[in-house]
Amino acid sequence: MTEREILLKKISTYQFAAFDLQLFLDTHPHDQKTVAKMKEYRNMAQPLIAEYEEKYGPLTKRMTSSNHWNWIKGPWPWENEEDC
């Protein structure tokens, strides 16, 4: 795995943990412990997302600190570094 892929996997891990708890909260909306845990995972992903977007370009369609429209820059999610 490249450095980019390792960082993306870390982000995905925290995001997935938060996402799965959100799905649980859909049927248990008053479970405060789960709300707290979900927020904790979401917060753990935040600085990693900022680091990723600074280094490799945006994960959602918007401008990063660069003046270039980096959105279209590969690799896209189904590709790896060799594809582009």
Binding site: E5, S12, Q22, F24, T27, H28, W78
Partner: protein
């Protein structure tokens, strides 16, 4: 509306091509128990659902299934990229190739194009939730069947993740069914359609 995140829900990183396996796995892209049908089923059923929990769960799972569709597309793409004509012929991929080259087309393993005939939106929350639970189990079995033909760790890893999600979704739909029936008259849940007969909820009956 929907916002795209430029990442897969779970990474797919396949090093070894395998067109024969791609032809099996594509069934989860556009086959009868695939991710496209799953997403369309849930995102369509939600419009007439009676409870906030049901609307939320169907929206969120329906959206997640779109992410799974993307993962399956990525798996099929990576299993078939850079193939030679020789490899295509040897693997028996020529029948798919003649129609789609190595493009990703929503079809079943047997080559039947995607059809909404394999799913239902019944407009009855009890009926639809039972359909959804069955759909998750059918997809789980399909992933189990796919795993029988996988010997590549990279493919197995992604397929196992998707299989596990079917089990979790089944659980969430089961909770929704309980939440719904808890609010209905326990003497006969089936006397009314909870999406159409709005007065069938216990909370409405007390008011009378």
């Amino acid at each position: 509306m929907f916002v795209y995140e430029k990442k897969l829900q779970y990474p797919v990183n396949i090093k070894q091509t395998n067109p024969k396996l791609a032809k099996i796995i594509i069934t989860q892209y556009g086959g009868p128990d695939g991710e496209l049908g799953a997403s369309l089923r849930y995102l369509s059923q939600r419009f007439t659902m009676p409870l906030p929990e049901l609307k939320g769960t169907l929206t969120d799972i329906g959206t997640e299934e779109l992410g799974h569709l993307e993962m399956i597309g990525a798996i099929v793409y990576q299993l078939t990229r850079g193939l030679t004509e020789e490899e295509i012929k040897k693997a028996g991929f020529d029948d798919y190739f003649v129609d789609h080259t190595t493009g990703i087309y929503p079809q079943s393993a047997a080559g039947v194009p995607f059809t909404a005939a394999s799913m239902q939106v019944k407009g009855d929350a009890i009926t639809d939730l039972h359909e959804d639970m069955a759909a998750e189990q059918k997809a789980r079995t399909t992933y189990d069947n796919i795993l029988r033909f996988c010997d590549d760790y990279d493919v197995k890893d992604a397929i196992r993740f998707l299989r596990e999600r079917e089990v979790v979704h089944y659980q969430r739909f089961g909770e929704n069914l309980r939440l719904l029936t808890d609010k209905l008259d326990e003497k006969n849940f089936y006397a009314f359609n909870p999406e159409f007969d709005k007065n069938c909820f216990k909370s409405c009956m007390k008011k009378k």
